[in-house]
């Protein structure tokens, strides 16, 4: 079941994201916090990869490096063979907070990224925005204000906003962490469906192992201080997966055991 760290994905898959020997240290005042230490991994085109680990393990940092919001001290991150030098429309990000703009209504938020995309007229932008609002089931809320939405609805709008410019890569940083359990389960179903329809490459950061097993093709286990990839699990359960399925719970249990073992034994190779 367990494969070596930084395992290559099967040869037929094209590599979408390559992270090579990346280290990153944050310097705040007198303290130095090593966030990532010599991390290497690849994500295949159309693959759904989940990064799990406790807080401080550098998984969000890694996501920011792929997004181009931060840069590694050493090593490099590349997407489609191109070194990442900043944010790009090919990689959209969803944050834990929906980060919707309150001065725009729902459809205005979905339009934000589209307005920055060249070669689209107003009608085409609107049509696209409405298409993605329908996809997340919020077409009837297109003119609502952001503060009128529940937490789950906000994240749906954020998902539609991220999908609308049609990026190849979706980077999700604990996007459902602040939602209640029922809303989360519904969003797992939606996200699986959308991923199967649109075949995005998704990197999904979470500290919830069951969430990772429910969503990912692969689950990478991180350990903190400094953040490293410790183990990798391939999840072959059929989709759509049910969070409460017996097989899923068993796999999640295995991974949780492994995670605990790595935390208890931080220096083992």
């Amino acid at each position: 079941m367990t494969e070596p760290v930084a395992a290559k994905i099967s040869a037929t898959d094209a590599v979408k994201i390559a992270v090579e020997h990346v280290s990153k240290t944050f310097r705040g005042g007198t303290r130095e916090v090593p966030a990532l230490s010599d991390v290497s991994l690849t994500v295949g085109d159309g693959e759904f990869v989940c990064l799990v680990g406790p807080s401080g393990c550098g998984k969000s940092t890694l996501l920011n490096l792929i997004a181009g919001l931060e840069f590694p001290d050493t090593g490099q991150v590349s997407v489609d063979g191109q070194r990442v030098t900043g944010p790009g429309r090919d990689r959209m990000v969803m944050f834990q907070e929906a980060a919707l703009f309150p001065w725009r209504n729902v459809i205005g938020n979905v339009l934000f990224g589209l307005e920055l995309k060249p070669n689209l007229d107003a009608a085409a932008r609107r049509e696209t925005a409405e298409f993605y609002l329908r996809m997340v089931g919020l077409e009837s809320f297109r003119d609502a204000f952001v503060h009128e939405l529940s937490g789950g609805m906000k994240q749906r709008v954020a998902l539609a906003r991220a999908l609308a410019p049609n990026p190849r890569v979706l980077l999700m940083d604990e996007p459902f962490g602040a939602l209640d359990a029922l809303t989360r389960e519904q969003l797992y179903q939606d996200l699986q469906r959308i991923w199967q329809e649109r075949r995005k490459t998704i990197v999904f950061v979470t500290h919830n192992v069951r969430e990772a097993v429910c969503l990912g093709d692969r689950v990478l286990v991180f350990s903190p201080h400094p953040g490293r990839v410790r183990e990798e699990f391939r999840i072959d359960l059929p989709r759509p997966r049910d969070l409460n399925g017996v097989d899923l719970a068993r796999r999640a249990g295995e991974i949780t055991q492994a995670l605990k073992a790595h935390l208890a034994n931080p220096d083992a190779a």
Binding site: P87, R89, A99, P102, W103
Partner: protein, 254 residues
């Protein structure tokens, strides 16, 4: 239906009490004119155009001074929020000057500019721009960094980020700063008009001042009433609707 009724009863009671006090004869009518005397001054002054002329002069000064104050305060606020060196220097100056009551600028303005429109404007601008600078600074600093990060990932840069993220995100705070700035401009201008006697046009403050000189208490109270009404009107017609719109949109009222 109930609220307007309560308000009407309250103000009718207030007027009646004032009328009874004035009619009791305990105080000289020179010091305490009856409400009807004040009303008849207002009717006369409205009819002979002196009130409208004064209001126009004052309104023009207010508009020019307020716009200049915004023109100075907004860019300064942008600078102090963006650059540490500016907030350590100009920011401290602004904070200090904001605590200075605007009437304190009058002696300096008189000596520098003489009894001119310039002195008047100077007092208004000094009274207005610092509070607008501070509000702009606060507004820009209060923007959650996540908005800019989210915008960047969607390809927003430079001027687009400023116009489509920073300006709207800071609008609620900047708007309340504008309102405060207006209140300061209004107070400053009244102080300036009372203390700076000039020939290039008499404003409401001058009418108030002449009322005192002529011992015309009906004029003093009448002009004070007009000043209150102008202040209320600006609030109800301009600022309240703008604030309501922001609250509705941004969802800042729970």
């Amino acid at each position: 239906m109930k609220r307007p009724l309560i308000a009407a009863v309250f103000f009718a009671g207030l007027l009646a009490a004032w009328h009874l006090l004035a009619a009791s004869g305990r105080w000289s009518p020179v010091l305490l004119p009856a409400p009807l005397d004040v009303a008849s001054y207002l009717v006369r002054a409205a009819a002979d155009g002196s009130l409208a002329a004064a209001a126009l002069v004052t309104g023009r000064r207010l508009a020019v001074g307020y716009l200049l104050g915004i023109g100075l305060g907004l860019p300064l606020g942008c600078l102090t929020s963006r650059f540490r060196s500016c907030s350590d220097t100009l920011g401290v100056v602004a904070l200090g000057l904001q605590t200075l009551p605007s009437v304190c600028w009058v002696p300096l303005a008189l000596l520098w500019f003489g009894q001119t429109e310039g002195a008047m404007l100077f007092v208004v601008v000094m009274g207005t721009s610092w509070s607008i600078q501070i509000a702009t600074d606060d507004g820009l600093r209060s923007i959650p960094p996540i908005y800019q990060r989210a915008a960047r990932t969607m390809g927003s840069r430079g001027l687009h980020t400023v116009l489509h993220v920073l300006v709207p995100a800071s609008l609620p705070v900047v708007l309340s700063g504008m309102k405060q700035g207006w209140a300061f401009a209004w107070r400053s201008l009244m102080a300036a008009e009372i203390f700076v006697t000039i020939l290039s046009g008499s404003g409401l403050g001058h009418l108030l001042h002449y009322g005192r000189e002529l011992l015309a208490m009906d004029q003093v109270l009448g002009v004070m009433f007009v000043i209150v009404v102008v202040g209320l009107a600006a609030d109800k017609i301009v600022f309240s609707p703008a604030e309501r719109w922001v609250r509705r949109r941004w969802g800042t009222d729970a």
